[in-house]
């Protein structure tokens, strides 16, 4: 009887609206093209086709995604691997289930007139860094350069950068942290020219760490129903990402439609979508263990103050992508 009813109901309405599984996704940052893939998947009905009812929660300067996960406020989050590994070491068992971003978009952008021409010139300079879990790649890089971050003539003076590019514009800092897809263009929009700037990409310096990946709580992976749900989520998200890669302009417009703050502009989002497409290229969603190992190696090289103190065990899993990518 039950099957008969289900069959009847399924015949009467589209399957998607029938008891779809709820998924809450916590973003690392505010609604912007950095997360275009998820918004495209939502907007284009890729999630719906997988029988999912997805809620996307934007982040912000005062939101630490691992804390949201710890409080049970989301099923899955977007975060960077260093921050997730640091949280794991602090006793929050987060596991990477997928890695849509193949390469890192992080760089240090410097004013040429500050006298910085290469990493050897950082000594004695003021460098702007984001905190809140984003400081780890920077700290690792400085320790590989052998520079103290405590200031002084032999080290670098670190200032906690707010989420804008003012310190560079006002020459309060010689260099600031920027993303290829965001802050760099904010500097350009503020009137500086690329010729006045010199950028050091973490990828080129050999200190790139894995950025936007998807993370869940470890104990949930013991539940086959949750794994199945996540597999469908990752599959649809990757469809969204590949669509956004092909059509960055359209993806940017979809992001703008979903931006409830109204803070984003079309030009900036289109640029961001095009830059992010370069970072997602080459990833089918499955984490490459070699990338993971490289990230860990960089983080462990933290000298006297390493970001993580021991090699993480079980911090990533292919169980979800294995299902998601074979169907």
């Amino acid at each position: 009887m039950k099957y008969l009813l289900t069959g009847l109901v399924a015949g009467l309405m589209p399957a998607a609206s029938f008891a779809a599984d709820d998924v809450t996704l916590q973003l690392k940052w505010v609604t912007q093209a950095q997360f275009a893939g998820y918004y495209v998947a939502l907007d284009k009905g890729f999630y719906e086709a997988q029988d999912l009812n997805v809620t996307i929660q934007p982040g912000g300067p005062d939101i630490a995604p691992p804390q949201v996960m710890a409080g049970g406020g989301a099923d899955v989050m977007v975060d960077w691997l260093p921050s997730a590994l640091a949280a794991r070491e602090k006793g929050l068992p987060l596991v990477n289930i997928a890695q849509p971003f193949k390469s890192s978009g992080m760089m240090l952008t410097c004013r040429k007139d500050s006298g910085v021409a290469g990493p050897d010139d950082f000594k004695g300079k003021v460098l702007g860094v984001w905190f809140g879990g984003n400081e780890y790649p920077f700290l690792s890089w400085m320790s590989t350069l052998g520079l103290s971050t405590e200031g002084g003539a032999e080290g670098v003076e670190v200032l906690k950068q707010g989420f804008n590019v003012d310190p560079l514009l006002q020459e309060q800092a010689a260099c600031i942290s920027t993303m290829t897809y965001n802050e760099y263009w904010q500097i350009i929009d503020a009137g500086m020219t690329p010729e006045e700037l010199i950028t050091f990409k973490y990828e080129d310096e050999g200190v790139a760490t894995l950025e936007d990946g998807l993370y869940v709580m470890e104990e949930n992976l013991d539940d086959p129903a949750f794994v199945d749900k996540m597999a469908r989520f990752v599959k649809a998200s990757m469809e969204g990402w590949k669509y956004a890669e092909e059509n960055p302009d359209e993806a940017a417009m979809i992001v703008l439609d979903n931006d409830e703050t109204g803070a984003q502009t079309e030009e900036h989002q289109k640029r961001m979508a095009a830059e992010v497409a370069k970072l997602t290229a080459g990833s089918d969603g499955a984490l490459d263990p070699a990338d993971f190992d490289r990230t860990v190696e960089i983080l462990m090289a933290g000298g006297s103050d390493p970001v993580i103190s021991e090699t993480p065990e079980g911090a990533w899993s292919h169980v979800v992508t294995d299902i998601a990518l074979t169907e």
Binding site: A70, K90, L92, F131, K160, G162, Q170
Partner: protein, 278 residues
């Protein structure tokens, strides 16, 4: 239920003890009641967190916070000096001096009264999250910009209270001092300022807490890598909650001490006021 039993037992036990103690109204029991209440809260917190396995990233146990406090004592001291002594205290002193001088200027001249008071009012209405980034731009990342935020925050409450205080004398007193041929400054110094002290201290006490909040919150908008606001916002990102709570303990202790010291000075200076009678 069985996990809850010892917690309930401790709660009822300490309640009962306090209820019994409060029958004897001596100095000792008054102190004891407060101590037992505070201690039982901490014990209940510790028991609840342990019994129900609350993760440290949500709410650390008091023992973890105490351990983090001891372990990071040096860091906490550096942050305390940066935020409380350099940022809050200097800002509070500058703000208070400026507010009292402005109040006297306003009192002296009706012209200024019409112009300055509305501006003071306007400044008081500025939201801290709006002015903090601007002041960071003007005064740089270090404690100077935090002190500037504090100046803006404490200025108005002290100004308004001082102006009210300067109006606190009655005509009879002012006539009396005038018959002794006192000029404006003499009457201000010998009669009106002392009479205004309870009001001024009211403003000073209110603004001690404002100064702490201002200095801590201003650090969220760019700071060097030290300071309580810096540490709180970064430790949250690193999920080091015991350290966040240790900073909160420092802030609470510093706030209480700051208020207490101002209240103590007030008691010394306004011993003649009815509110100080024992």
């Amino acid at each position: 239920m069985t996990t809850a039993l010892p917690i309930i037992a401790v709660w009822l036990g300490s309640w009962g003890l306090n209820a019994w103690l409060s029958r004897f109204d001596t100095r000792l029991t008054r102190v004891l009641v407060a101590l037992i209440f505070g201690a039982s809260l901490i014990v209940l917190w510790e028991m609840t967190v342990r019994a129900y396995d609350v993760p440290a990233v949500i709410l650390p146990a008091p023992s973890q916070i105490a351990a983090s406090f001891a372990e990071n004592a040096r860091t906490l001291w550096i942050d305390f000096v940066q935020t409380i002594l350099k940022g809050a205290l200097s800002g509070w002193l500058i703000g208070a001096a400026a507010a009292i001088c402005t109040a006297i200027a306003i009192d002296r001249s009706p012209f200024l009264q019409r112009g300055l008071l509305p501006i003071g009012n306007f400044v008081a209405a500025l939201p801290i999250v709006g002015i903090a980034p601007i002041l960071v731009m003007w005064f740089g990342f270090d404690w100077q910009s935090k002190a500037a935020v504090v100046v803006v925050m404490v200025f108005f409450p002290i100004l308004v209270n001082t102006i009210a205080g300067l109006a606190a004398t009655d005509a009879l007193q002012r006539d009396l001092i005038a018959t002794w041929s006192a000029g404006y400054w003499q009457s201000l110094w010998k009669l009106r300022l002392p009479a205004a002290l309870p009001f001024i201290f009211n403003g000073l006490k209110i603004s001690t807490t404002l100064a702490l909040i201002g200095a801590i919150v201003a650090e969220f908008f760019g700071s060097p890598t030290r300071g309580m606001g810096f540490r709180i916002s970064t430790a949250v990102g690193q999920l080091d909650m015991p350290l966040v709570w240790a900073e909160i303990v420092v802030a609470a202790l510093a706030g209480t001490a700051f208020y207490g010291i101002v209240a103590l000075i007030e008691a010394r200076l306004t011993f003649w006021h009815p509110s100080q009678r024992k």
